[in-house]
């Protein structure tokens, strides 16, 4: 089984009905805005808004939670390091000095990461990914980037399956992945073989595309239609983001 088996149906929701182009543009503005936030209160509001959008998207919790956890893990180092490295007012816990500013900054980073994660999951969870790629192409995102994303998405799973097959083949010949020199060497060889096969496949895919007249520009049959609701959704999210950034900038530094 390859990618197709892992494609998830999109739950019916107002966000699923949102034109993918307007949704992509709105989420891009929101992500850029959230990334620019410095203070904890606006970042907390951004997180609340992101989680609200996730709820509105009606995405299943078991799909959302592990993915959101990845964003939390990415922000964790900041939460762990900043309280012990920034100066200013601090709490003393025995010999340990915990910076107040460090804790607030770490929490702000965590909120920002989770808010960006929520927005990203809303984007990828409320439309088939190919529709989002087609929307990106329509929004004049450079064709090479769209094509790279589309092909990477398609063939990552195929290569993953090849790696699984090779691991099975190694296992039936008695290989056990152990922390030994032989184990690491074998895993290295398997990974190398997958990469080489991936490069070969990339060449063959490129050949097949050229034979069908591909000259660097991705054309698609995807049809989009803008409604007043699509524009309203974009304006709402963009205006909310701008308001958050202004609030962030006007507040105490």
């Amino acid at each position: 089984m390859t990618l197709a088996a892992r494609e998830r149906p999109v739950p019916l929701s107002p966000l699923a009905r949102w034109d993918a182009r307007w949704k992509l543009a709105a989420v891009a503005v929101a992500v850029a805005g959230v990334a620019a936030l410095d203070r904890l209160p606006p970042a907390t509001v951004a997180l609340a808004a992101g989680l609200g959008l996730l709820a509105l998207a009606r995405l299943p919790g078991r799909w959302v939670r592990p993915r959101l956890a990845v964003f939390a893990v990415a922000a964790l180092p900041f939460l762990l390091v900043l309280p012990f490295t920034l100066d200013g007012p601090a709490w003393s816990l025995g010999p340990v000095r915990v910076s107040e500013r460090g804790v607030v900054s770490g929490l702000a980073v965590l909120c920002r990461a989770l808010a960006i994660g929520s927005l990203t999951l809303v984007l990828v969870g409320t439309a088939p990914l190919h529709q989002t790629f087609a929307a990106a192409a329509r929004l004049r995102v450079p064709g090479v980037l769209v094509l790279l994303a589309l092909l990477a998405y398609r063939y990552t799973f195929l290569l993953g399956d090849e790696l699984r097959r090779m691991r099975t083949a190694a296992r039936v010949r008695g290989f056990k992945a152990t922390a030994t020199r032989h184990g690491y060497r074998t895993l290295g060889h398997l990974t190398g073989a997958v990469l080489v096969r991936g490069a070969d496949r990339a060449d063959r895919v490129a050949d097949a595309m050229r034979c069908r007249g591909f000259a660097g520009r991705l054309h698609t049959l995807a049809a989009f239609r803008t409604t007043a609701d699509d524009v309203a959704g974009f304006v709402l999210l963009a205006a909310g983001t701008i308001a958050l950034v202004i609030w962030d900038r006007l507040g105490p530094s």
Binding site: R212, A215, L221
Partner: protein, 245 residues
């Protein structure tokens, strides 16, 4: 009367960057509407020949012509996709779009068709290969036989005059193989089929070209060449069961 040649090679040679000579002075013609088979052992140069004919591999001008176009000429090579369609060995290399309809429409859109024209061409091609209802499906959800037919539809949608099929029955179960043979039999146009499946050759191709070590070893009627045990043995092939005495 000999049909007008649409595919012609003259002393066609190809050497890869590592010095391996994959084709060595191959000369033949295939007439308009003819269905010919290209057989030979692994490494004979069949796929290289196809890649040269469709312009994926570059070479010396004047060695090949497909529908009057020289694949080695950059300006003419751009027009080749309208003339020659290639169905590759592994359909997974060819099916990369999110839906079957998108994939089949990929070629027509590249050739400048409007979305409506591309959709119509894709619909016709899917109907021709018996996948009329599969347009909305994900290519990787298809069975091996369906994938092969979807890949073929992607090429047929471009309405090429010449079809090059590389190992079309590879990975197919007997039923899928039989269905594909029936489908290919009904397809109009010039066909060159590279294959190890000699029963398919007997079913579809009146003529066979034997390629070995990059050289054309024989060219003649399929029933005659494939029954020649010496010839078959010399080139790593076997006489098909149905021709054995």
């Amino acid at each position: 009367m000999t049909p007008h040649p649409v595919l012609r090679t003259h002393q066609l040679s190809h050497t890869y960057a590592d010095g391996r000579r994959a084709l060595d002075g191959v000369t033949f013609t295939v007439g308009d509407g003819e269905c010919a088979a290209l057989v030979g052992p692994n490494g004979a140069g069949k796929t290289t020949l196809f890649l040269r004919l469709c312009g994926v591999l570059s070479g010396k001008p004047g060695q090949a012509s497909v529908g009057g176009l020289d694949p080695a000429d950059p300006a003419q090579r751009k027009k080749l996709p309208e003339t020659v369609g290639v169905v590759f060995q592994n359909p997974d290399d060819q099916l990369f779009s999110p839906t079957v309809l998108d994939d089949v429409a990929f070629g027509p859109l590249n050739l400048g068709a409007t979305a409506d024209e591309a959709r119509a061409a894709a619909g016709d091609a899917l109907k021709a290969v018996g996948l009329a209802d599969a347009g909305g499906r994900v290519p990787f959800h298809l069975s091996g036989g369906e994938r092969r037919r979807a890949a073929l539809a992607g090429v047929l949608a471009m309405r090429p005059a010449v079809l090059l099929l590389d190992e079309p029955t590879m990975f197919l179960d007997p039923r899928g193989r039989r269905e594909l043979i029936e489908l290919l039999r009904d397809l109009p146009g010039t066909k060159l089929i590279a294959t190890h499946d000699l029963d398919l050759v007997l079913d579809l191709c009146p003529r066979v070209l034997v390629l070995d070590g990059g050289r054309l070893a024989a060219d003649g009627p399929a029933a005659e060449l494939l029954a020649d045990a010496d010839l078959m043995g010399r080139h790593g092939l076997e006489v098909p069961y149905r021709l054995r005495g």
